[in-house]
Symmetry: C2
Subunit: 122 residues, 2 copies
DNA sequence: CAGTATCCGCTCCGATACTG
DNA sequence: CAGTATCGGAGCGGATACTG
């Protein structure tokens, strides 16, 4: 689809809510962005997302796998190794999210300032 | 910032989580996208986001105003009219979110299929 | 190493009633 | 018309203990 479509022609905006509800949780995006570099194993991901609990990482990875955004590969070694990597769809989402990341970085200070002004005005 | 920066150079991904946590709720994006066309009044927005409750619309608008993404203008008429419109920052966010919207539409069916396959495989 | 299982607090959000 | 106030359920996410 063409991103340059005119504003008024944006189709079915309700679907956006679904996706944002899906990736808008606390951890999903961090994991996706992290896997963009290269496939990683469970505990490697855990180390690179320092605050995530084991349970939430499990849930997040499972949900991503269910949605076809990452694949889970088990190597029959001892100890067992499980590697997670982005699918093509997952990679395209990661790239898309980068636009939002850029926006976030660009407007971080602006939002902080706006909040401070708003709060003191009350 | 340059969106074409190399993957590994994406700065401070943790900030992305903040923003996604902020706009990743159930209503914020729908309101922003809606206001992209033109400024709207309270009940006009409510009508165009059919399922939103009055309280959630109030909260959503207030949070957006606090973040400097929309402005609230009261006209001293009877009955009172309150108009909400995007700020420049809000508009730029709306445009950025459109990329995600496009991704969502493009991959909607893929995700549905992935889930169906995953669920039946269990 | 890579998970499961259980408990539990907290916040999101809906429903409803009320107000200037 | 444009809100505010209050109650309550559901689910996200944290902490901890346990397992193949």
């Amino acid at each position: 689809m063409d991103v340059t479509t005119k504003p008024d022609e944006l189709p079915d905006c309700s679907g956006v809510g679904d996706v944002l509800g899906r990736i808008g949780d606390k951890w999903t995006v961090q994991v996706i962005v992290l896997l963009r570099r290269q496939p990683e194993r469970f505990n490697a991901i855990k180390r690179r997302v320092p605050k995530i609990s084991q349970q939430m990482l499990t849930r997040t990875l499972k949900a991503l796998e269910r949605d076809g955004l990452i694949t889970r590969t088990v190597r029959a070694t001892a100890p067992p190794q499980v590697e997670y990597s982005l699918t093509e769809a997952g990679l395209s989402l990661a790239e898309t999210v980068r636009h939002l990341a850029v926006w976030a970085v660009d407007h971080r200070q602006y939002i902080r300032d706006s909040r401070a002004r708003y709060d003191t005005a009350q």
